[in-house]
């Protein structure tokens, strides 16, 4: 059974959208609530590798793409999650299941202000420790020093 069918079968109705940009670049959308189960199934049961995650600031909220790589076939699965609303964006951390997510969640937390619930060690990674609160440099409304 190929990996696409396996993923579809294991994730079942958690998948709300399946998009094949090309045979090796696949985007799937899941609900925010089921991201932990999804990550666990993809990593523990199907043996996918977490490559990284991309957060994005959208007008209606935030979006996180968890990029999983299946190296046997060279396919790249990007799991898309929407977080609605601009105030206090929250999502469950996948770092307890996947150590590889620890640093990238810290990065998304400090650059986008997305709160990862259950992260074992949520503190600054790239920015300095005295970075002002509520300033998230990769948000679209962030004012750069020379714009202030």
């Amino acid at each position: 059974m190929d990996i696409n069918t396996q993923i579809k079968e294991k994730l079942g109705n958690r998948i709300t959208e399946w998009l094949e940009h090309s045979p090796r670049r696949i985007y799937l959308t899941v609900d925010k609530e089921s991201i932990k189960d999804t990550a666990s199934i993809l990593f523990n049961e199907l043996g996918l590798r977490l490559s990284t995650a991309t957060a994005q600031d959208l007008p209606e909220g935030f979006e996180i793409l968890y990029h999983f790589s299946f190296d046997k076939t060279g396919q790249f699965f990007s799991v898309r999650v929407f977080i609605k609303g601009k105030k206090n964006p929250q999502i469950e951390s996948i770092a307890p299941i996947l150590k590889a997510a620890e640093w990238i969640e810290r990065e998304m937390w400090e650059l986008f202000g997305i709160d990862f619930k259950g992260h074992p060690d949520l503190r600054h990674l790239l920015l300095s420790d005295d970075w002002p609160k509520d300033e998230y440099p990769l948000r679209k409304d962030y004012k750069k020093p020379y714009e202030k």
Binding site: S22, Q56, H67, T73, G74, F76, A100, D130, K144, Y146
Partner: protein
Amino acid sequence: MSHKVIVPIGPYHPLQEEPEFFRLYVEGEKVTDIDIVIGYNHRGIEELAEEKHFDQIAFLVERICGICSSSHPFAFVLAVEDLLKTQVPQRAHYIRMIIDELQRIHSHLLWLGLAGHFIGYNTVWMWAWKYREPVLDLFELITGNRNNYAMMKVGGVRRDMKEDDFPTIKKYLDELVPVLDMFKGAVMDDPVIASRLKGVGILSRQDVLDYGALGPTARASGVDIDVRRDDPYALYDSVKWSVITQKEGDVFAKAVVRILEMYECVNIIRQSLSKMKKGPIDANVTDMIPGEGIGRVEAPRGECFHYIRSDGTNRPVRHKIRAPSFMNVASNKVSCVGGTISDAAITLAAVDPCYCCTERTAVIKNSTNKRIMNGWDLIKLSQEKTHRLLHEAGLKR
């Protein structure tokens, strides 16, 4: 009775050229825990990329790192080409491969020299860097630059290679093989290096999978991954080469993987040179469409990942960059713990860390809460200077 003592390494690293900070928690000689603090090299490149147009970004991302400076633009152009589904001409593919493989040779030689230096074997350092020099000369011959080659372009490459230069490149490759043999002997058969590096800084197969380690770091622990073979880009599926793996996962295995990989680089370049046919080098991309694209490249340190989202304008809405060291450096948390302090230096260096890549942004505030000069201020100053000069020359629009 044992106390817990913290041994700080960095931010001014005594050996490495880049700033990073390791807090080693030790009991006696033994490292019991480690805290890795990075961020000293954060320059805001992801944010900067959102303000540049697609043609400029290739130059920008080239400056993320001076060592793997063709991997980042390569991954970036692949991401844009994935978005646009561009067909790149065959000759451009081969030129990209030759540049990328030459870069791998120079990067691995650089690491080998540094590793020798770290364990006090300075002869290897001098030799490795001596033989790295001709690779930079080759780069100068092919691209005009010793570093930051400026070859990658969305749709192709910026400069063609001259057929007249091929004999020089081939001659260099012929001369490199005996050098590699020498390094193979100097490292793999040397009893001193073996007793210094074998069994040091072991990263198990499971740790590699947990931390998502990449490239030679993963391959030295028996995890057989290589983007060039798994998700072939350019024309890597048209040349014959093999992925080098070792089982031990210690620093010695990582050195062996890198040395043997250089033979494969030579292999790939030779085949690319002979398979390359004359023809166009650019697909002449003119239009941008909304969408998203992913590009990944096997950089000397592992998978280099770029993600692009476009809204159809000439600038990306989001540009995510993940360099291999971002995953590899985090894996030091396991490889270093349990060893001794004296092993820590080489273990931390064994992943071939590249902090420039790992961190990509900076707006700095000092303790008095005053903003000090950062990248933006420098750009602003530079733009002001340009405007002033234009004004003085009477060219001001």
